[in-house]
Amino acid sequence: MPRLLSGAFRLKNDPRILKLPPYLSLLCILVGVVWLLLLPLDNYSRRTYISENALLPGQVHTYFGGSDQNVFRAYKHEINSLADGNATNLAVNDRLAAIFAGIGLKTARQPYSYTTSRAVQGENIYAILPAPRGDATEAIVLVAAWRNAGDETNRNGVALLLTLARYFRRWSLWSKDIIFLVTPDSSSGPQAWVDAYHDAHRGSVGSLPVKSGALQGALAIDFAREGRFKSVHVAYDGVNGQLPNLDLINSVVSIAGGQMGMGVAIQEMWEHPDGYRDRLDTMLRGMLKQGLGMASGPHSAFIPYHVDAVTLQPFGEGWQDEMAMGRVIEGTFRSLNNLLEKLHQSFFFYLLMATERFVSIGTYLPSAMLVAVNFTIMAIALWVKSGQPEGEVVPGLEGQKGEKARLAVERHLFLPLGVVTVAQALGVVPLWVFNHTPASLQTTVFVVFLVLNTALPHVLSAVLTRTYNPTTQQYQLITSFSLLLLGMFLSSLATLNFSLALIVGLLSSPLSFVRPARHLAWSVPLALISPPAVLALTTALWKNGGLAAVGDVLREAAFGWDVMGMYTPVVVWCVWWPAWLVGNLVVLGRPGRGKAKVA
C-alpha cells in the first residue's frame, strides 16, 4: 500500500500527467455524444408500459357518436358563424356561455391582460361539470383554445369540446369534476387560468370566481383542420422542458393507437417507420424543444403546477372523423377518471424516440454529465498547472530545472476572480435588455447587440492587457474559474433540463481548450459560437426568415420569461454568455509579466 501511495505521489509530480487532462476532456465530450447516439438502439432504450394499473386505458367501450354527431354539426355551425363574422373575444364568450347554459352547466369568466414585450389581453371562459356524486375535491380539465398555436381558429376543437360537455353531462360515473375551458389563445390564456386556479396570478389577471378541487390532469384539443384525418399528434413538452407523466402519454397512445386504431405521432414526425434514423430524429427534435423550453400548446401551462397535460392534434389525410377524435378524448377521460391518486407511478424524466420507445433519466443523463464534467476536469487541470512555475516565464529559475516540479508558485487570485465576477455580472445586462425591449424594437436591438457583442471581447481584452497586463498564470486561473462555474451550472442544470444543459455544453465545449493565442484569427470561430451568433445562424437556417425571425424568437422568449417563468434566457445570458466572454478574452489575451512587474 505505501508503495502504491508513493507511486501515486510520484505520478502527481510527473509532468506527463498534466498533459493528460485535455485529452481526457475531449474524450468525455466524445463519449457524451456517442452515448447519445447509442440511445435509439434497441439495447439502450425500453418499450413504454403502463405503470399505473388503475388507468386501464382502452378497456372501456366508448359511446360517443351516433346522434351526437348531429349536435356536433349544430355547434359547428354556431362556431363557424362566430369565426366567419370575426366575433370579438367577448362576443364569442357570450355565445359559448349561452351554449353551456343550454347544456345545463354553469360558466364563469376570467379577464386577464399581460403587458410584456407584447401586450395581450383576453377573457377565458370555463364551465364546471360537477362530478355527479363527488364533492369538488378533484378535477380534470378539457381545454380548447379559440386560436390554436398556429393562429388558426380551432373550429372543430371548440365544437367538439361543447359536444363532449353535453355528452359527459349524461354520465353518472365521473369521480372528478370536469372543467371545460375555452381560452382566446393557446399560450397566455391557459397560463392566466392555471395561475389563477392556484392563486399564483399577478394583479392584471383576474381571480377565478368559481373553482373546483385539485387538478389531476388536463387534455387540450387542437383541431383546426377540416375534413377527415389520419391520426393524432400528441404534443407534450411543457415550459422549461418539464414533461407530463409518461403514463398519460402511454394512455393516449394506447387508446388512440390501440383501441381506436388511428395511430399516434410525436414531435411532428408525420412518418415514423421506427428505424434508427427516425428514432434519433424524434429524440433530437424532442431535445431541441425541451432545450428551448418554450410552450408548445395550451397544455404547457399546466405542467409546472404538476398537472399532467398533453395536447392532441389530428393530422394527415385519412378516414377518421371528429367523432373518432371525441372517442379518443372520452377514453382518455375515462382512464383519468379511474385514477385513485395523482399520476406518479411512471417517469417524469424521459426522452421519447417513438410512441412506444423511451429512455429514462438514468440512461441518458450520463451524456450531459460527461459533457459538463469535461469543463470541471479542465478547470482542475488549469488550477494545478497554474500552481507550477513555467521556465520561460520565470527566468530566474532556469538553472534549477530539476527542482522545478517541486516548487509551488504563489497564485495571484484577485485579478482572475475579478474578471470572472465582472463577466458573470455583465450577463444581467443582455437579460434585462432583451426582456424589457418593446416588441417592435427587438430586431434592431438584437442587431446592435450582435455588433457590440463582437467588438466587446476586443475592447475588454485591450483594457485588460493595458491596465493589468495579466500573466499566463492569471489567464490560466481566469479560464479555470470560468470553466469551474460552467461545469457546476451545467451539471446541476442537467438534472432539471437535460437537453438545455447538453446543448449549451456542446456549444461551449471549445471553451475548454482556449489559451492565449497570438493570432487574432482564433477569435473568429469563437465569435461564431457566441450565443447571439448561434441564435442568428440557427433562426436564419431553420426559419428562413432572417433577422425578422430572430425578433419573433426574442419576443417569444421575453413573453415566456415574463409570463410563464421560462428560464432559458437566464441560462443563455448568465451561464453560457459569460463563459463565452471569458473564453474569448483569454484567446485574445497577451500574457505579460503582470501589473506589478511592469510597474
Binding site: 349536435v71 349544430a74 343550454g102 354553469k106 360537477p130 378533484e138 354520465w171
Partner: protein, 609 residues
C-alpha cells in the same frame, strides 16, 4: 323554503301534538328544482316517552339504537351520512335550513352525560364503536385527533330540564373520507317501524339514492318536553336527496347513456341550419315529464299501517296551475298557499304521481320558470378552496357572500382541521368586498384550540358578520407536516380529506324556523357546510422504503455471513490440513465398511456359537 317549513310546522301542529305520547309519522316531500333536479325529502319521526325508554319498553323507538344510547349515557345524538354537494346557486336554500345535513362523509355529534371530561371521552369511545357496528361505518376511526368540543357552533336541539349544563358534554367527530353507500342505508331502514317494506320507505332504493347528485341521511335523537306533559324521546330519521331527473329516468337494465336515435333528440327547430342531421339541442332539462315510479324505479307500495293516518304520506311542491295526475285510490289535497299539494292514499293502494310535460303552446302557456316553485335564496353562500401550490405550504380561502341587499348575516364559522395541517393564526384575515367598504372588524370572536401533533386536531371557531350585499374573503395560511410513513393510510394515496367547515347562522329571533320540530330551542339558526378539501402532503414513494429495506437486508446478510465465516472458521494452509483426495475417501469408506462387516461378522459368529 320558509314557506315550506311553516307549512310543515302547521301540519305538525295540527296533527302531531294531540297524539304526542307514542306515535310515528312519515312523509315524503317532492320538490322539483331548476336544472332538471328533484329534491326528495323523506322524513320519519317517532317518539317514546322517557319513562318507557328508561324501562326498556320500546315500541316505535328502535331497540338496537336505544340500548346503545342508554349504555353510553347519550342525551342527544345527531348522526349524518352525506354524499355530493348542494348547488346553492341553482337550487337555493337548503332543505330543513341545513339542519339535517352533514359535510361529505360521516358526521356525528352528541351530548353525553358525564361527570368529567375523561368519563365523557370514555363514553364517546363506547358510543362511536357501538354505532360503527350498527351502521357499518368506520365511526370507530373517530379518535382523539378527529374529535373536537365545539364551543359556539352547536346548541342542544332538545330540552334537557333534568340535567344541568355542567355534566352535559358536547363531542363532535367527523370522517370526511368515509364513503356512504348501501351498507349504511340498510341498517338505517332497519330502524324504521315498517323496515322499508311499506310506506314511503319502499321508494328508497340504493341504486337511486346513491346515484343522486346530493344526498344526506340524518338521525337525530333528542328529548322533547312540552310543558304540562311527560317528556318524550324523539327520533327523527331524514333522507334528503337531489335526483337528476334525466339520469333517474334511464331504465335500470340500460343505464349507459348511449346517444339516442337522431329522431328522438329534442332540437331547437328555430335554428336556420336545422335539418335531419343537424340538431341544436333544446335547453337542458327543460320541460321534463316524469312519474314517481320512473324516478324511484317503483311506485309506493301501500302505506305503513303504523304511521299516523292523518299525515299525508306524499307532498309535492309545484304551483297549483300545473296539472298533476295520480293513480287510483289517491286523493289530492291542494294547499292554500297555491304552491304545494299532498296526496292521501288508501291503505294497500299503490301510489304513483305523474307530472306531465308543461304545454308550451297556446296563449296562456306558463313559462318554464313558472312550472316549478322558485327556490328561496339562501341567506349566505359559502365556498372554500385551497390556494397556493407545492408540498410545503398552502392557504385556505373561504368566500362568504351575503346576497341580501339590506340584512347583515351573523354566523359562527367552525373548522376542525387535522393536526398535520398546521395553521398560522396570525395570517387569518377577513377582507370585505362590497358597497360598504368600512374595514371594521368582521370577526367578533375567535375560539382557537391549537393542534397537538398526533394527539388532537385544530379547532377554530369564528363568530363573524358579513355586511349586506357584500362578499367576505376569509383566508389563512398553513404548513404541511411530514408524516411518518406508517401514518399514511394503507390505500392508494389520493391525499387527505379535510372536513367541511360548518357555518351556523345566528338568527336574531325574528323569522327563521330552524328545526321543524315544534318544541325546538328558542335559539333558532340555520346551518351551512362547505365542501371538503383534498390536501396533498409530501408522499414518499412507498415502494422505495421496501426496496431499501430489502436491499440493506441483503447487504447486511452478505456482510454478516462473510464476517461470521471469517470469525468462526480456522484457516490452515493446504499442506497442514488433512489430505483430501479420492484415494483417501476410498480408504475411509473401506475402513468404515470393514468395521461394519467385522461387527456383523462377530455378531454372526456369536449367533453360530
Amino acid at each position: 323554503m320558509r314557506r315550506v317549513l311553516s307549512f310543515f310546522l302547521l301540519c305538525f301542529l295540527s296533527f302531531c301534538i294531540p297524539t304526542f305520547a307514542a306515535d310515528y309519522h312519515e312523509q315524503l316531500v317532492l320538490r322539483p328544482l331548476p336544472l332538471s333536479a328533484l329534491l326528495a325529502s323523506f322524513n320519519f319521526r317517532s317518539n317514546t316517552s322517557l319513562s318507557a325508554f328508561e324501562a326498556h319498553n320500546y315500541r316505535f323507538f328502535p331497540r338496537s339504537l336505544g340500548q346503545i344510547l342508554q349504555h353510553a349515557g347519550t342525551r342527544e345524538l345527531h348522526l349524518r351520512f352525506s354524499l355530493g354537494r348542494w348547488d346553492a346557486e341553482s337550487w337555493g336554500a337548503r332543505p330543513w335550513d341545513g339542519a339535517k345535513e352533514g359535510g361529505t362523509g360521516v358526521e356525528l355529534w352528541a351530548w353525553l352525560e358525564a361527570e368529567t371530561e375523561e368519563e365523557a371521552d370514555h363514553k364517546w369511545l363506547t358510543l362511536t364503536n357501538a354505532l360503527s357496528g350498527l351502521f357499518c361505518a368506520s365511526l370507530n376511526f373517530i379518535d382523539g385527533t378527529r374529535t373536537t368540543r365545539p364551543v359556539m357552533s352547536f346548541r342542544p336541539e332538545g330540552n334537557h330540564p333534568s340535567s344541568n349544563s355542567t355534566n352535559m358534554h358536547l363531542l363532535y367527530g367527523v370522517l370526511p373520507r368515509e364513503v356512504v353507500c348501501t351498507e349504511n342505508l340498510t341498517p338505517f331502514l332497519k330502524l324504521l317501524p315498517c323496515k322499508g317494506k311499506a310506506g314511503i320507505a319502499t321508494l328508497l332504493d340504493g341504486h337511486k339514492l346513491f346515484d343522486a347528485s346530493w344526498q344526506s341521511m340524518a338521525i337525530d335523537v333528542r328529548p322533547v318536553c312540552v310543558p304540562g306533559e311527560e317528556c318524550v324521546l324523539e327520533i327523527e330519521q331524514t333522507i334528503d336527496m337531489v335526483l337528476d331527473i334525466d339520469r333517474s329516468l334511464r331504465p335500470r337494465d340500460n343505464p349507459i347513456p348511449r346517444p339516442p336515435p337522431g329522431h328522438e333528440l329534442k332540437c331547437d327547430t328555430s335554428k336556420p341550419y336545422h335539418s335531419d342531421d343537424t340538431c341544436y339541442p333544446a335547453v337542458y332539462g327543460a320541460n321534463q315529464d316524469w312519474t314517481l315510479a320512473q324516478i324511484f324505479g317503483r311506485p309506493m307500495q301501500g302505506i305503513c299501517p303504523l304511521a299516523d293516518p292523518t299525515v299525508p304520506p306524499v307532498c309535492l311542491h309545484v304551483p297549483d296551475s300545473r296539472s298533476v295526475y295520480s293513480s287510483a285510490g289517491v286523493r289530492e289535497i291542494k294547499n292554500k298557499d297555491g304552491l304545494s299539494r299532498c296526496f292521501e292514499v288508501e291503505p294497500a293502494a299503490d301510489l304513483d304521481v305523474v307530472l306531465p310535460r308543461v304545454e308550451s303552446e297556446g296563449e296562456a302557456a306558463p313559462t318554464l320558470a313558472e312550472s316549478i316553485v322558485r327556490p328561496e335564496t339562501p341567506s349566505l353562500y359559502a365556498e372554500r378552496s385551497f390556494t397556493g401550490y407545492g408540498q410545503e405550504r398552502g392557504g385556505v380561502q373561504t368566500i362568504l357572500r351575503n346576497p341580501s341587499p339590506d340584512k347583515e348575516v351573523e354566523f359562527v364559522y367552525m373548522e376542525s382541521l387535522p393536526w398535520f395541517m398546521r395553521i398560522y393564526l396570525h395570517t387569518l384575515q377577513a377582507r370585505v368586498d362590497g358597497p360598504s367598504t368600512d374595514q371594521e372588524s368582521l370577526i367578533d370572536e375567535v375560539y382557537y384550540r391549537p393542534a397537538l401533533d398526533r394527539a388532537r386536531g385544530t379547532q377554530l371557531e369564528l363568530r363573524m358578520r358579513v355586511p349586506p350585499a357584500s362578499t367576505v374573503f376569509l383566508t389563512y395560511d398553513f404548513e404541511k407536516s411530514i408524516l411518518r410513513y406508517t401514518e399514511y393510510p394503507p390505500d392508494a394515496n389520493r391525499g387527505f380529506d379535510v372536513a367541511a367547515a360548518v357555518i351556523t347562522i345566528l338568527d336574531d329571533g325574528k323569522g327563521g324556523t330552524g328545526s321543524a320540530s315544534v318544541s325546538s330551542d328558542k335559539h333558532t339558526s340555520s346551518n351551512l357546510r362547505t365542501t371538503t378539501l383534498l390536501l396533498s402532503l409530501p408522499t414518499p414513494d412507498f415502494s422505495m422504503p421496501y426496496n431499501v429495506i430489502i436491499f440493506t437486508s441483503t447487504a447486511i446478510a452478505l456482510a454478516f455471513g462473510g464476517m461470521f465465516n471469517i470469525l468462526v472458521r480456522r484457516f490452515v494452509a493446504a499442506d497442514e490440513g488433512p489430505e483430501v483426495s479420492l484415494k483417501r475417501l476410498k480408504r475411509g469408506i473401506q475402513t468404515k465398511l470393514g468395521s461394519l462387516f467385522s461387527k456383523f461378522g462377530k455378531a454372526s459368529i456369536k449367533k453360530n456359537e
